[in-house]
């Protein structure tokens, strides 16, 4: 039945337990997506000091990128841990029905999601380093490439998770 500590079931049902874990995973993913999207926008389209006021889009990309670096690393790791935890439930109770229904591409995209989550995690130490050296011009190019890559990975991972949940998630 996956990783369920026995003592937890004295207080909540199995369904509640997995629902709590999944909700935490989803909320962490939303926070991570927001942080990385802000940062990617900031490196792709840095705001120049304008004479007039800054509009909504300008404010969106006017964030101080280095301040997000540690938060992004922590959020990626935390989202990864919760995702890995609920994956045991997914493998038993979601993937098998998906395969029985013949939703092969859905499962293929989920496999890709897990691949990118692991690869993205391996990039985090260097990502953190280049953002903590934000004034070093040596890292300007790699900072942009790495941040946009991680943001792209995060969007893909998030959307696939959302679609898979629609295929067989809550209430199924």
């Amino acid at each position: 039945m996956g990783l369920v500590p026995e003592f937890v079931l004295d207080y909540i049902s199995v369904n509640t337990y997995w629902t709590i874990l999944f909700t935490i995973h989803a909320l962490l993913a939303v926070a991570l997506l927001g942080a990385l999207t802000h940062q990617a926008a900031a490196v792709l389209m840095p705001v120049r000091q304008a004479a007039g006021g800054i509009d909504f889009v300008g404010r969106f990309r006017a964030v101080h990128g280095p301040a997000y670096a540690t938060a992004v690393c922590v959020l990626w790791l935390a989202t990864f841990v919760f995702g890995a935890w609920i994956y045991t439930k997914y493998r038993m109770y979601v993937r098998i029905p998906i395969e029985q229904e013949g939703f092969w591409k859905t499962q293929g995209f989920f496999e890709m999601k897990e691949h990118l989550a692991t690869i993205g995690m391996g990039l985090l130490p260097f990502y953190w380093l280049v953002w903590k050296n934000a004034r070093d011009p040596e890292y300007a190019g790699v900072r942009k490439g790495l941040t946009v890559t991680l943001a792209g990975f995060c969007w893909f991972i998030f959307l696939v998770g959302h679609v898979v949940n629609n295929v067989r998630g809550f209430g199924s």
């Binding site: 039945m1 996956g2 990783l3 280095p66 890995a84 994956y87 045991t88 493998r91 038993m92 993937r95 098998i96 092969w104 591409k105 499962q107 293929g108 995209f109 496999e111 890709m112 897990e114 691949h115 990118l116 692991t118 690869i119 993205g120 995690m121 391996g122 990039l123 130490p125 260097f126 990502y127 953190w128 380093l129 903590k132 050296n133 934000a134 004034r135 070093d136 040596e138 890292y139 190019g141 790699v142 490439g145 790495l146 946009v148 890559t149 990975f153």
Partner: protein, 132 residues
């Protein structure tokens, strides 16, 4: 004895933290990032998990193990991830022993190019799922 408190030296804005300024950590992080997509793709395509997890019975086998009949599926992703992290960490640690001049020759752009290059390879590895 003075009763006044000396103000702590103000940290320069944007100055890197000590770990971020460390050349050793830079080398480790760079090689770790370069090794991760390469080792992960190899582990996935050759199916080399460090361990196999059987969620139906909560059993863990070292290395690759087949699913046991009537005990549910076997999961390899945890094992691939573990293989990748351990392998990348070992390579990163070895790289810290190399001369700085060697590490400085590595193009930094590979850090984001290699993960992107891994995508078509992984898509190909998942060809079983692309059925219409």
């Amino acid at each position: 004895m003075s009763t006044t408190t000396e103000p702590a030296p103000a940290k320069a804005a944007g100055a890197p933290a000590s770990l971020a300024a460390s050349a050793t950590f830079r080398t480790f992080a760079l090689v770790f990032a370069l090794a991760t997509p390469v080792i992960y793709v190899i582990c996935e395509m050759r199916n080399w998990p460090l361990f196999t997890y059987h969620p139906g019975t909560n059993r863990v086998d070292l290395g690759w193990a087949a699913a046991v009949r009537d005990e549910g599926p076997a999961m390899y992703w945890y094992g691939w991830t573990a293989s990748t992290l351990v392998g990348s960490a070992i390579l990163g640690a070895f790289a810290t022993m190399l001369p700085e001049s060697v590490i400085r020759r590595i193009p930094l752009s590979l850090v984001w190019i290699l993960p992107l290059a891994a995508i078509p390879v992984l898509v190909y590895a998942l060809r079983f799922f692309w059925r219409w």
